[in-house]
């Protein structure tokens, strides 16, 4: 056998090895949050499946490399879903780009087409693509219209399974009346809550037609502004004392626009505070300020310019707790510190930054104020906390509208982690944490720390020059060593 034949046979052998590696592939996920591996929450959901679940994946083939990798990743994950479900998941992969008939079937199933770029022979070509899936369980159906690359994959799939496969959901009661916001004003949170729960408005009035408090897995009390009678408070207390789970978001520090005058942040009092104080929880008559804060737009002539507004603190400091698992950052508009003086297990969940402050209420807002480092001498003020007393559980936040979108024209998008905090709290209170770790999964942002311009320059040029200088340094050392050697030889010869 000559060398060419041997080489040919060996290459054939390599091809077979490569095909075998594809058939019996092993995958190791080295990402810090294991974002390409199914989590415990998903496993819990899959183990609970009683009937077969059908997944019809409408994935176009022959798209750009990004989508091809994404396709491979989603199919790998679906394979894991199938294995973990012990045969209760059936997967059908359809390529709608193959024929018009398949494209029509994708659209009829609720998967919309979209355009994506792909590098052709001499130019960037736009292709019509489909990348969604339909999940069917018993007579229920859920459509995931598009699974974009670089976006969470596992959460939307598990969420959809949970939604259709577990119809008997516990009730979360949203206290209605007393100036509290309605379900309509929290569409973002509502969408997430509905996966695990039925969200219903409940009344404390015994004559009302709403479901009794005792039937609620969790009672959410969101920023009541109108007065509550002693009987109302007693109803909440009796629910809680009987092992109830309560979520309270309350704005102790509230903005008063002040008509023509200067806007102020004022302290308000409500009967709810009296009830909370009986449990050892209090709100300070202060408003938290923070060097790390959101911005407001200030009119300057024809323009609006952004200005950092230190009464809108941003927090990135969270407790190691199921509620705050995987949260990256939350923003509040006027928040009062929360404190505790009881015997229960009190866990501060959200803390202000190391450069924060607090100002006694009322505070007159002066947009021209020059803030200094001296204004931010506090560290780790408690913005939200969890309390456990036996079976009883309570989550308290020092701001009542942090996850509200508002209604009608005033509706606005809320930071996703603000919503996640609310939904995670409900999950923890209800003892249903299977989706908590999944919500933050897939967000891979590791932002660069804030640096002075001079520091940025130092990083830029040090990193650019240092490796080259190291190499040239080695060159000089080597040259000197060679010179020494040469001189030694010369001396020996002479």
């Amino acid at each position: 056998m000559n060398s060419t034949t041997k080489a040919g046979l060996f290459l054939l052998f390599l091809l077979l090895v490569y095909i075998a590696a594809g058939m019996f592939n092993l995958r190791l996920d080295f990402t810090s949050d294991k974002r390409y591996t199914l989590s415990e929450g998903t496993k819990e959901v899959l183990v609970g499946l009683e009937d077969p679940l059908t997944v019809k994946a409408y994935f176009s083939e022959g798209l750009n490399a990004e989508f091809e990798n994404h396709r491979r990743e989603v199919l790998n994950l679906l394979q894991e879903y199938r294995e973990l479900a012990g045969g209760n998941v059936e997967i059908e992969v359809i390529n709608p780009s193959e024929s018009e008939e398949l494209a029509n079937s994708a659209q009829e199933a609720g998967i919309p087409p979209f355009q994506t770029g792909s590098q052709g022979r001499d130019k960037l070509e736009l292709q019509v693509a489909y990348f969604g899936m339909v999940l069917e369980y018993a007579d229920q159906k859920e459509v995931i219209q598009v699974l974009q690359p670089n976006q969470p994959i596992e959460y939307p799939i598990t969420k959809a399974i949970k939604k259709i496969a577990f119809p008997n959901k516990p009730v979360v009661g949203l206290l209605s009346g007393y100036g509290s916001p309605s379900i309509k004003s929290i569409p973002q949170a509502n969408q997430e809550v509905l996966i695990n729960y039925q969200l219903q408005e409940v009344s404390l009035n015994s004559d009302s037609t709403s479901i009794p408090l005792a039937n609620c897995a969790v009672l959410a009390v969101i920023n009541p502004t109108d007065s509550m009678s002693a009987a109302d408070i007693k109803a909440i207390d009796s629910y809680y004392e009987n092992g109830g789970k309560v979520f309270v978001a309350y704005s102790k520090a509230a903005l008063n626009q002040g008509g023509q005058g200067m806007p102020t942040i004022e302290a308000r009092n409500h009967a709810l505070e009296t009830w909370l104080s009986q449990k050892g929880i209090g709100f300070e008559s202060n408003v938290i300020t923070d060097a790390m804060a959101g911005e407001i737009m200030i009119p300057q002539g024809f323009f609006q310019i952004p200005m950092r507004f230190h009464y809108f603190p941003i927090s990135e400091r969270f407790a190691q707790h199921p509620i705050t698992a995987d949260l990256k950052g939350m923003i509040f508009q006027f928040i009062a510190p929360v404190n505790y003086s009881g015997q229960g297990v009190f866990t501060p969940l959200i803390l202000s930054s190391q450069q924060s402050g607090k100002e006694p209420l009322p505070v007159y807002i002066n947009l021209d104020r020059q803030w200094t480092e001296g204004d931010f001498k506090e560290n780790g003020l408690v913005m939200a906390a969890a309390l456990e007393e036996g079976e009883k559980r309570l989550v308290v936040v020092g701001n009542g509208d942090f996850f509200l979108n508002g209604e009608g024209q005033q509706q606005q998008q809320i930071n996703p982690d603000n919503v996640n905090f609310f939904v995670n709290s409900l999950d923890w209170l209800a003892g249903n944490t299977s989706l908590v770790e999944l919500r933050g999964k897939g967000y891979t942002s590791v932002p660069i720390k804030k640096l002075e311009e001079s520091q940025v320059r130092l990083y830029r040029y040090a990193n650019f020059l240092l490796p080259i200088l190291l190499l040239l340094g080695y060159r000089v050392m080597r040259y000197q060593a060679a010179s020494r050697k040469r001189n030694k030889w010369k001396e020996m010869v002479l």
Binding site: K6, G22, Q119, I448, K449
Partner: protein, 241 residues
């Protein structure tokens, strides 16, 4: 193994005795450093504490530098007649091929290790940097470089002319680096899948995300072994002729 190691060390010393290693490494570090830290899609403009900008630049710069390093491996020895001298010694063709391959790998490892200051800076710049992803990125660069080094050594064994060897390595490299991915995009069904599997970028980008898949490892190892086997076959054919 000793003989392979001796050949590898001799080759590496030759790189550093001539100016090739310094020129190549300076160009590589200059280019990657410039595009990672100073200009265009650099770390600061992305706002993320991640080495992805470096991996993207290194992916392209190594593609050009490796053929430039490997072009002389056999071509120059054949031209000057030192290859015959080497092959008459008590070393097998395989030992010569593997020794030279190992020396290129060591040079690339040195080049990549000189980028460790980038890694240290990134660790300081962000809280919770994903170290697993970064190490997978380095592994992907190393495997891709090994594959191109093997191809470069093979093309060098086919010609007496360094430039021919360089251009041939570049042309073959372009097929894997660019063309197969583009062809996969133009086709559908099984042919698309086959070309997709042949594309270096698809395997490289999969690993850079922080996932090690046996298919990606098998791809790069198969490319290396395939090219090295062809190199050995080319040398043996020379004896047979």
């Amino acid at each position: 193994m000793d003989k392979i190691w001796i050949i590898a060390k001799r080759e590496l010393k030759t790189f550093f005795d001539s100016q090739i290693a310094y020129i190549m490494l300076t160009l590589f570090l200059g280019l990657t450093g410039f595009f990672t830290w100073i200009m265009i899609s650099d770390v600061f403009s992305s706002g993320q504490a991640s080495l992805i900008p470096f991996f993207n630049v290194a992916y392209w710069s190594l593609f050009f530098f490796i053929p430039a390093i490997t072009m002389k491996m056999f071509a120059e020895e054949k031209r000057s007649g030192t290859l015959e001298l080497l092959l008459t010694k008590a070393v097998s063709d395989w030992q010569v091929v593997l020794g030279k391959f190992l020396s290129v790998l060591m040079l690339i490892a040195i080049a990549l290790s000189l980028s460790i200051p980038y890694y240290i800076s990134i660790t300081y710049l962000g809280d919770g940097v994903d170290h697993g992803t970064i190490w997978c990125g380095y592994l992907a660069l190393m495997l891709m470089s090994a594959a191109y080094a093997a191809i470069g050594i093979w093309t060098s064994s086919l010609s007496n002319n360094q430039i021919t060897a360089f251009l041939l390595a570049l042309v073959i490299g372009i097929l894997f680096h660019l063309m197969f991915g583009m062809v996969a995009g133009e086709l559908s069904g099984l042919p698309s899948d086959v070309f997709y599997q042949l594309s270096t970028y698809n395997h490289f980008s999969s690993m850079v995300r922080g996932v090690i898949d046996t298919r990606d490892i098998a791809y790069f190892v198969a490319l290396c072994l395939g090219a090295l086997v062809l190199t050995e076959a080319a040398l043996t054919k020379r004896h047979e002729a």
